[in-house]
């Protein structure tokens, strides 16, 4: 079996689930003939026809709102926003309707939709193509927020997201789309939507991250290993609901925590994790909790995006600080 990229894993999951469940409809801008601007939906039109794969007009509120209408009748739309920075016109429909339909009708109607979008900076794209605003969605009751960081997790989590009976925001780190390959059996195995993944066990410090930043985080963990420092690395993956137990267990063990994310620092998901630890694991902490995050600035155009993204140097410095 050939190894595949995260992008191909997304495609494989979509194809698997479309095959299995004819309620699954893929829709968005350029997802049909063009197969998506990153090719995540490549081949689906050919395989499943224009009745299942829809190129929509260019309107994100429409994409969100029509998906809600479809989902209310039992279809399972998997809608793509072309980039996260273009998902904002859809926020009203997502916050006021997708996230609320089940609660508002006390379960009479529901909204099994997946909103997929490329996520994060680091691919030298034009402005608005580098957003990572998962915190907005995480703050919205009624949504699940998922961010895969490997081909296997992309496959298993996307299947779970499509099968989940409630709305899921599925954020695909563009920087990882083609970075690594993995053997991902196409057997339709879903992963749980409420569990962190421990990517590496360690005893000195817990590094918590998600999405593309795990690449740098793992590099730092490996490098520090050479220096005799043992890092536990946790991939949060399911941002909401958050698997607090895995996080708490790890920090209770190591007593130290560094949280790494590329979204702006203020009111990012790193704050939520730090707050949970400060409330529930305070007396295990042997050092301040440090967040290494994007600065509180608009993601700069690409000449400066590397300076914006938390670098391995910054992460390493933070780890050494909490180990002092």
């Amino acid at each position: 079996m050939p190894e595949i990229t995260l992008l191909e894993a997304v495609n494989q999951a979509l194809a698997y689930e479309m095959q299995r469940d004819e309620n699954v409809i893929v829709l968005g801008e350029d997802v049909g003939t063009n197969g998506g601007v990153f090719r995540a939906t490549q081949g689906l039109l050919q395989k499943f026809g224009a009745e299942r794969v829809w190129d929509t007009p260019l309107a994100e509120s429409m994409i969100a709102g029509m998906s809600i209408g479809m989902a209310s009748q039992g279809l399972k739309p998997v809608a793509e926003f072309q980039f996260m920075g273009f998902s904002y016109p859809g926020l009203d429909q997502i916050i006021n309707h997708a996230a609320r339909l089940r609660n508002r009708t006390r379960g009479r109607l529901s909204c099994p939709v997946v909103f997929r979008t490329p996520y994060g900076a680091g691919i030298h794209a034009p402005e608005h193509h580098s957003e990572s605003t998962e915190a907005i969605y995480a703050h919205t009751p009624g949504l699940r927020v998922v961010i895969p960081s490997s081909p296997a997790r992309a496959y298993g989590l996307l299947l779970a997201a499509i099968r989940d009976p409630d709305p899921v925001i599925f954020l695909e780190p563009t920087r990882l789309y083609r970075l690594v390959k993995q053997n991902v059996p196409d057997e339709g195995e879903a992963l749980p939507l409420d569990q962190c993944f421990v990517l590496r066990e360690g005893s000195d410090v817990t590094l918590v991250s998600w999405g593309a930043m795990l690449h740098e985080t793992m590099n730092v963990a490996r490098a520090l290993d050479q220096e005799g420092i043992s890092c536990e690395v946790i991939d949060v993956a399911t941002i909401k609901p958050l698997d607090r137990d895995t996080l708490l267990n790890s920090v209770e063990k190591t007593g130290r925590c560094v949280i790494i994310h590329e979204a702006p620092l203020t009111a990012g998901m790193g704050a939520e994790i730090a707050a949970i630890l400060a409330e529930q694991a305070l007396f295990f902490l042997q050092a301040p909790i440090v967040r290494v995050a994007g600065y509180d600035v608009t993601v700069p155009y690409f000449k400066l995006e590397k300076a914006y993204l938390p670098s391995e140097a910054r992460i390493k410095e933070a780890v050494l600080t909490v180990l002092q």
């Binding site: 007009p57 309107a59 429409m62 809600i68 209408g69 009748q73 279809l75």
Partner: protein, 359 residues
């Protein structure tokens, strides 16, 4: 210069303001029962409306949006829809909803601040939409589902004149046009969006012409003529059902009351304007026509009013009898299965009693 495209907007009315036929009436008008039923529903709505406002004034209900003067729009629409069609209403469509399994006490419950008001007897209809215009996109989504499943069903969105300024409204129209969806848009043009008059909402001569921007037909109808509403809605819905695509219907009516019980319309519009509109209101018109036809009398009217009052009182009773809310209700319906963190919060909330004046 050559002209490359031409359009026009038709206007439909059957009964004029005096209740006199102005053109040949549709077939269904021959049937007295149908007319009685329309008249009855409009009357019920009017009696209910007054009662709901009274409930609000005495603190038994929250903010409530009156339907006074607009009864014909939703009643005529409701009569034109099939039960397995789907309605995506705004918040003045009680006249259609009660023909589709929603009870008056459901409506009270909703405006009483209780989500259980949306658990009504229609499996697929949307609840009232408060974010203006947003429901038009749900209707096109529902229509997408019907089209995909090759079902002969139609989605209907209703919104106000103010809603036609929202981006969502146009995006919905555009999608309906390009996918030729089985959907009908009804704009209940009651001339006001809270304090903003129709003329300051848009420069269009008609709201019906907004459909031209999406490449399909827009009609203007007298929305206070329930015969026109039923007839033209039925026509548009059947057109949609049989593959003919979407229609936009602008129903001309007038909001005789305040925007809601939280509003005071005398701040922004004249008594004269309201008095003029009063003369065109929908119940009187149909009553005149029925009376002319020899089918209505003061006696029948009184009987009907008493009957409606009784129905309304029963609904009020049912509303008052509804079981108290519990803190669990806040949590149990966000997800099909309760996530662990919410389960904890649910437990926490249960430790703190609910205090509420209206409960």
């Amino acid at each position: 210069m050559v002209d490359v495209a031409h359009f026009s907007i038709p206007y439909f009315q059957y009964l004029n303001e005096q209740g006199q036929p102005v053109v040949a009436l549709p077939d269904f008008v021959k049937d007295n029962q149908t007319l009685f039923s329309l008249y009855r529903l409009m009357t019920l709505l009017r009696v209910f409306d007054a009662r709901a406002i009274a409930l609000q004034r005495t603190g038994m209900l929250g903010t409530y949006p009156s339907v006074l003067g607009q009864e014909a729009v939703s009643v005529g629409l409701g009569a034109a829809m099939h039960l397995d069609d789907v309605l995506c209403p705004a918040y003045r469509e009680g006249g259609a909803q009660i023909q589709r399994g929603v009870t008056l006490s459901d409506i009270l419950l909703y405006w009483g601040g209780d989500e259980r008001g949306n658990v009504f007897g229609h499996p697929n209809d949307f609840p009232m939409a408060v974010p203006i215009g947003s429901q038009t996109l749900h209707a096109v989504g529902v229509a997408c589902a019907f089209q995909y499943r090759k079902q002969a069903r139609v989605a209907v969105a209703v919104c106000g004149d103010g809603a036609t300024s929202q981006g969502d409204f146009y995006e919905a129209l555009n999608l309906a046009g390009v996918r030729n969806l089985p959907v009908v848009f009804i704009v209940a043009n009651n001339q006001w969006a809270i304090s903003v008059p129709r003329g300051r909402q848009t420069r269009c001569q008609t709201l019906a012409q907004k459909a031209i921007a999406a490449g399909f037909a827009g009609w203007q109808i007298d929305g206070n003529d329930v015969i026109a509403v039923k007839e033209k809605c039925a026509e548009a819905i059947e057109k949609a059902r049989t593959g003919g695509g979407p229609t936009l219907i602008e129903a001309l009516t007038y909001r005789l009351g305040d925007h809601t019980t939280a509003d005071d319309a005398s701040r922004y519009r004249s008594k004269e304007e309201v008095a003029q509109a009063q003369a065109k209101e929908p119940l009187k018109r149909l009553r005149h026509y029925l009376t002319e036809r020899g089918e209505w009398s003061e006696e029948k009217e009184q009987l009907l009013l008493a009957e409606c009052a009784k129905d309304v009182e029963e609904a009020v009773e049912a509303y008052k009898q509804v079981s108290p809310v519990t803190t669990d209700m806040m949590f149990d319906f966000h997800f099909a299965t309760l996530p662990a963190d919410l389960a904890e919060q649910k437990h926490l909330a249960a430790q703190f009693p609910v205090g509420d004046a209206h409960a």
